[in-house]
Symmetry: C2
Amino acid sequence: MIQPNVPETGVPRVVIVGGGFGGINLAKKLKNAPVQIVMLDRNNYHLFQPLLYQVSTAGLEPDSIAFPLRGIFKSQKNLIFRMAEVTGLRAAENILETGIGELRYDYLILATGSTTNFFGNKLIEEHAIGMKSLIEAVQIRNYVIKQFEESLLLKTEEEIKPKLNFVMVGGGPTGVEMAGAFAELRKYIIPKDYPELPVSLMNIYLIEGSPRLLAGMSELSSEKALKGLQELGVIVMRKTVVKDYDGKILTLSTGEKIESQSLFWSAGVKGVPVDGIAPEIILPNGRILVNEFNQLNGLTNVFAIGDIAQMTDDKHPKGYPMVAQVAIQQGANLANNLKKLLKQQTSLQPFKYNDLGSMATIGRNKAVAEFAGMKLYGYFAWLVWMAVHLMSLLGFRNKLVVFINWFYRYFTFDRGTRIIIKRGAANIVKLRQTVN
Amino acid sequence: MIQPNVPETGVPRVVIVGGGFGGINLAKKLKNAPVQIVMLDRNNYHLFQPLLYQVSTAGLEPDSIAFPLRGIFKSQKNLIFRMAEVTGLRAAENILETGIGELRYDYLILATGSTTNFFGNKLIEEHAIGMKSLIEAVQIRNYVIKQFEESLLLKTEEEIKPKLNFVMVGGGPTGVEMAGAFAELRKYIIPKDYPELPVSLMNIYLIEGSPRLLAGMSELSSEKALKGLQELGVIVMRKTVVKDYDGKILTLSTGEKIESQSLFWSAGVKGVPVDGIAPEIILPNGRILVNEFNQLNGLTNVFAIGDIAQMTDDKHPKGYPMVAQVAIQQGANLANNLKKLLKQQTSLQPFKYNDLGSMATIGRNKAVAEFAGMKLYGYFAWLVWMAVHLMSLLGFRNKLVVFINWFYRYFTFDRGTRIIIKRGAANIVKLRQTVN
């Protein structure tokens, strides 16, 4: 019989759901606390989401941005990891329901992150591709390369064009970086790999509903990003919304139609709350309302941090941005508060967000970055972007492999990982059934 | 309409089926020949099969042993690549039938390699996992890690044992190296990653039908490999054949039964000949009989090289071994002969195999190697093994990434890539249908 098999050790049990930025930072900060930490995640790895778009565009291997959670915590003796999905919460009994059985907790922290938000448009949801998970990134890579291979087999430009129209929806960092990476592919890789294909048939669209890209940054940065992408030949459409998509034709709010077989969606994210949370604290975007200590309303031992949590203050009436920094800082603050609670101290520290800045890369040698009151553009911002991302990657091996890939790409203009990993053999079907 | 879209250029057309060791070496050697080369492969990458077992055992990322064929040939102007499966041959008309339409050829070279041979045992074929493709390796990695994660959820040793019995069938280099890698996992990784699991429950079996391992090498090397594996705790069974397997219980020719959910099969390979080849030159193992010029019987412009070709001489009445060296050398010899044929010369050079030696690694610091009349064992053989494999890998990036992984593993005893890449999101089902 399957069961969580987590022994009672006599010390308070802290259950952390999710091994993202918030969850792992919280767990690390509790390393020497007198608790038993149980970390649950549906995957066995921490994913460095900021570089996911580089996997999609054949710049990095998937393994280099995923770090096994057991590796992260191998020297942390007070932590137990279980690969499991959470299915429900019975807060009155301090019980978490999971795919591997029920788990009692003394303190529960939901750090489940966010998922792609299609804002209820079922047709788009059915045909567009999200950009949140590792398998999505690998599949995008497979899919994009396949469009080029198949284009070679078509005779007329009318047949080819829909295959080579790539549409990114959402002008946040993910959309901007992905569009830039596609433009680089078009400039440096496609002409070499597919000399038979007129590269002019490939179009890259970036569609954003609001008047500007990178809405979280300054107007100047937005302007620089827009210009940078346009110089790379990206067709940027602002104040434009995708109304409909059937897998072949995209209808825009302007009435315009685009033929495309590839719609990549980063126009929004949402939380996926656990069953059993009081409906009145679940917001329409799926985030869970928490107080300044990240506590769920009416519960003193249940917390939510990171993307899934919505904490408001005067400056952030709609909650903090759904970015890694907020999750990391909330994890740290909550670790301190948990230590106080363990000592029966009631003077908890309210969370204060320290905005360390934000940045986005636009393409080779070009980025926008804002931090410590500075605004940087161009080459230097790009170097900063690389340094910050390299430093943030977990593990020496991953840092080194990513560095080498970037170094190699910089000097050769090549991308090493443009392979299609196909399924095929009959046995794999069986394996897949077992594995999933 | 889908069609190969290969233009007629007035020069003779050489169609090469398969981008393995034989195919790419042949194509490279024809770089300056006055021909149009059309290379077909079902995948868009060359796979460095000798290191596949390291992907299976979380030592290397899949991308580091796969090299995009378009990248390999990007500066070779006389070569066109198409991703396609070959479905039939009409030799009388010089027409190759493929999934993307028919293709005329002047010279045709079949270099399609080999696939796993289950020797007709349907039950084993259904439940065992082959070790020939990149996706199989990734799935083995997923599957193995999942066995450990699931073992944690079971209470009794009786339930756990079948999950942690890993059985390799076939005592050739693949089976030996895989068994050694599993033993290393057990020694260095599992105790750290799964301190809750008694490592004694994990058993590694290597089953070989003949009296010795590494039958292609000397008796002394076989003996060293056997000892090395036994020292690592691998249970090696010789003169033993797997009679049956239902996915749960393995029945051996000795009558013994082993409970195991993981049977990895490298007990044999076979050719998969193309429809349309005269049945009398197809051997029971699927290989195609060729003459000393790699020509198919009765055809002067159709050739087979590498694993798919069976060429016999006095020393090799059953054909040359199905290894990379034979394919590479046959590719080179055939390139020279094709150049002669293009110049209307009829004095073709018969193939002569120059055995450069063979080697297998057994584990950390340990390998067996035989070359240039020397027999090496232990640490030095292991260094030679690493150097030869690194040098043989295509591409600077791959060499570097593999080197770093090995370097990192050597000093940290860690394996960086033990992640489970899962499928899950509904959209992926759709994508998968499109991609496959």
